[in-house]
């Protein structure tokens, strides 16, 4: 099954890098959508079918944690898998991220292998939860 992915980062360069890494990971990808902040990301989710969101934390307009909070309030998106991709190294902040349901964390720098492993674990975990 191909994954439709949404990349949310205020840096177009970082979105391109994440897209490149996803392409190198060997995962079966469908559509790859992009947004430059959490508000735009939510707009994409309102009109597109997305299986996975990769989001940065620090963004203008609406940051990553705010976006996750918003989409978790929508019944149709409450279980959407989210991966936070960030340079954040504060254990306090990382734990805040990982305390969110259905959210994993990938620390920069990242390899295609790491991205694939995290995505597979996240998707597999959700499949088991719905069985």
């Amino acid at each position: 099954m191909s994954l439709n992915v949404l990349l949310v980062d205020d840096s177009s360069t970082m979105r391109a890098m994440v897209a490149r890494t996803l392409a190198m990971s060997g995962l079966s990808l469908g559509a790859v959508h992009q947004a430059s902040n959490g508000r735009e990301g939510l707009d994409v989710l309102d009109r597109e079918w997305v299986d996975l969101v990769l989001v940065d934390i620090n963004m203008p307009v609406m940051n990553g944690l705010e976006m996750i909070g918003e989409l978790r309030r929508k019944p149709e998106l409450a279980k959407l898998p989210v991966i936070v991709v960030s340079t954040e190294s504060s254990q306090t902040r990382i734990q805040q991220v990982q305390a969110q349901q259905g959210v994993c964390f990938i620390h920069k720098p990242f390899t295609p292998e790491t991205v694939r492993e995290v995505i597979e674990q996240l998707v597999e975990g959700l499949e088991h939860a719905t069985e």
Partner: protein, 159 residues
């Protein structure tokens, strides 16, 4: 040589290898050598505050920018802005990894957006960076050229 130079070098090398597929060469004989004034280069700086305040800078020769950014973006037709942004992202990632390693995993830092500028052809446009001695610095030889990383803390810290 500042005692944390090896850590700075290790982290910078890992980021350059992982994100830009750079080939880091063995340690050069003069890791603290200054940037040759005649070689045009690009310098990305990241300001940070929180548990400590300061600046991390990453300088690479202009000739290496195209290749490093092409590796990062998987495209040869990137715009100049995209190339510079890519170097800025490298600086951002290095900074995000260096700070907790050198100053504590529980510390919280806020990183500003990278600022990228050209150096080497003109006198250093940022006079503050030019006159303040870095707290820790390292220089890596790359297959694509070289990279110089400097960490400057605004206040003395046990680094």
């Amino acid at each position: 040589m500042p005692r944390n130079e090896p850590l700075l070098r290790q982290i910078a090398g890992q980021v350059l290898e992982t994100m830009a597929f750079a080939m880091v060469m063995p340690r050069p004989e003069s890791p603290d050598a200054p940037v040759p004034e005649s070689e045009p280069a690009v310098c990305a700086t990241v300001r940070f505050d929180g548990a400590a305040t300061g600046t991390l800078s990453l300088t690479v020769p202009r000739a290496a920018v195209n290749e490093l950014s092409a590796n990062m973006l998987s495209q040869d037709d990137a715009t100049e802005q995209q190339r510079l942004d890519a170097i800025g992202e490298l600086a951002n990632i290095i900074c995000g990894n260096v700070l907790p390693t050198l100053l504590g995993q529980s510390a919280v830092f806020n990183l500003a957006r990278p600022q990228v500028l050209a150096v080497g052809l003109d006198p250093a446009p940022d006079a503050d960076l030019a006159t303040v001695a870095p707290t820790t610095a390292t220089r890596l030889d790359l297959e694509q050229g070289w990279a110089q990383v400097q960490l400057t803390l605004d206040a003395p810290a046990m680094v």
